[in-house]
C-alpha cells in the first residue's frame, strides 16, 4: 500500500486520476464551479434570448420553431447525462474512485430534469404540429423509457443505506440499463413502424434547420452543456460533503 502510494506520488500531477481524490476534486471544483456557472448563465441567456426574440418564424411551423432552443439541447443532455453516468459507473466499478460514483449519483437528477424538459417541450410542440399532446412517436417513447430508467436509478440510490453498496448496485444497474435502453430504442422503432407503416410523425430537425436557427441553437446547446457541468460539479461537491459528514458521524458513534 505504501509503495503503491509512493509510485502514485512520483507520477505527480500528470495523472488524471489525481482529480479522483476527493480532496483534490474539492479544490479544483471550487475554482471551476463559478466559471462554469457564469459561462452557462451567459450562454443560456444569450442563446435563449437570441432564439426567442431575434429569430424569424419558420414558414411551416410558425413561431413554434422557437421551442427548438429548449427541446434539442435538453434532449441532447438527457442522453449525454446517462452516457456520463455510464462512464463514471464503469470507472467506479473498475478503479473504485468514490468521486466517480458520487458524480454519477449527482448527475442522475439533472438528467431526469433534462428528460422531463425534453418531453414537456416535445408535447407542447407536438400539440399544434400533430394535433395531439402525446404521440407514441418512437423518439418520444424512447425518452419516456429513458425517464423511467432515471427514476429507477435514483430510487435505488435512495433506497440502499450503505453508500458503497449503493454505488456498486447502481453502477451495475446503470450498465444493464444502458444495454436495455439501446434495446428498447430499437424495439420501439420496430413497434411503431409495425403500427403505422410509413406514417412517421418524427420531425427531422437536422434536415430543415437553416443557419438563422442554427447559430442560436449552438449557443443554447453550449449553455445546456455548461449548465450540466456546473450542476454536476455543485451536486458532486454536496455528495462528497454528505459522505464525509456521514463518515464523521459514524466515527463519533464509534468513539
Amino acid at each position: 500500500m505504501q509503495q503503491d502510494r509512493g509510485a502514485l506520488k512520483s507520477r505527480g500531477m500528470a495523472s488524471l486520476w489525481e482529480y479522483a481524490n476527493p480532496k483534490r476534486f474539492m479544490q479544483v471544483s471550487a475554482v471551476l464551479l463559478p466559471w462554469m456557472a457564469g459561462l452557462s448563465a451567459l450562454c443560456l441567456v444569450v442563446g435563449l434570448v437570441w432564439g426567442f426574440f431575434f429569430t424569424p418564424d419558420d414558414f411551416r411551423q410558425g413561431s413554434t420553431v422557437k421551442i427548438i432552443y429548449l427541446h434539442v439541447p435538453s434532449a441532447l443532455m438527457a442522453i449525454n447525462a446517462w452516457l456520463m453516468m455510464l462512464v463514471t459507473s464503469l470507472i467506479w466499478l473498475i478503479r473504485r474512485h468514490h468521486v466517480s460514483a458520487l458524480a454519477a449519483r449527482a448527475a442522475a437528477p439533472v438528467g431526469l430534469v433534462m428528460t422531463v424538459i425534453a418531453l414537456a417541450t416535445g408535447a407542447i410542440w407536438g400539440q399544434p404540429m400533430w394535433g395531439t399532446w402525446w404521440a407514441w412517436d418512437p423518439r418520444l417513447t424512447s425518452f419516456l423509457i429513458l425517464g423511467l430508467f432515471y427514476l429507477g436509478y435514483i430510487a435505488l440510490w435512495e433506497a440502499v443505506e450503505n453508500a458503497d453498496t449503493a454505488a456498486d448496485l447502481t453502477s451495475v444497474l446503470c450498465l444493464v440499463g444502458s444495454v436495455f435502453a439501446v434495446l428498447s430504442r430499437y424495439a420501439v422503432l420496430f413497434w411503431n413502424q409495425g403500427l403505422h407503416q410509413g406514417a412517421s410523425l418524427s420531425l427531422d430537425k437536422e434536415e430543415n434547420v437553416a443557419d438563422v436557427f442554427y447559430h442560436p441553437l449552438l449557443v443554447s446547446i453550449a449553455g445546456f452543456v455548461l449548465l450540466f457541468v456546473a450542476l454536476v460539479l455543485l451536486r458532486t461537491r454536496t455528495e462528497i460533503r454528505q459522505r464525509r459528514l456521514q463518515a464523521l458521524l459514524n466515527r463519533e458513534r464509534m468513539a
Binding site: L48, F52, F53, F54, D57, G62, S63, T64, K66, I67, L70, H71, S74, P109, V110, V113, V116, I117, A120, T121, I124, W125, Q127, P128, L227, L231, L234, R235, R237, T238, R241, Q242, R244, L245, L248, L249, E252
Partner: protein, 53 residues
Amino acid sequence: MMPDLGKYAAEVAAAYIVSIVLIAGLVWASLRRGAKVRAELRRVEARRGRSDG
C-alpha cells in the same frame, strides 16, 4: 420588444416557462441541499474540533 408569436404564442411561451421553471427548480434544489449539507458538515467538524482538542 415582445416578438409577434402569432397563433402559437401560448405554446411557445408555455414551453419556455415550463423549461425555465424546471431548470430554476433544479438549480434551487441543488443549491439548497448544498448549503444544508455544507452547514451541517461545518457544524459537525467544529464540534469534533472541540471535543478532540
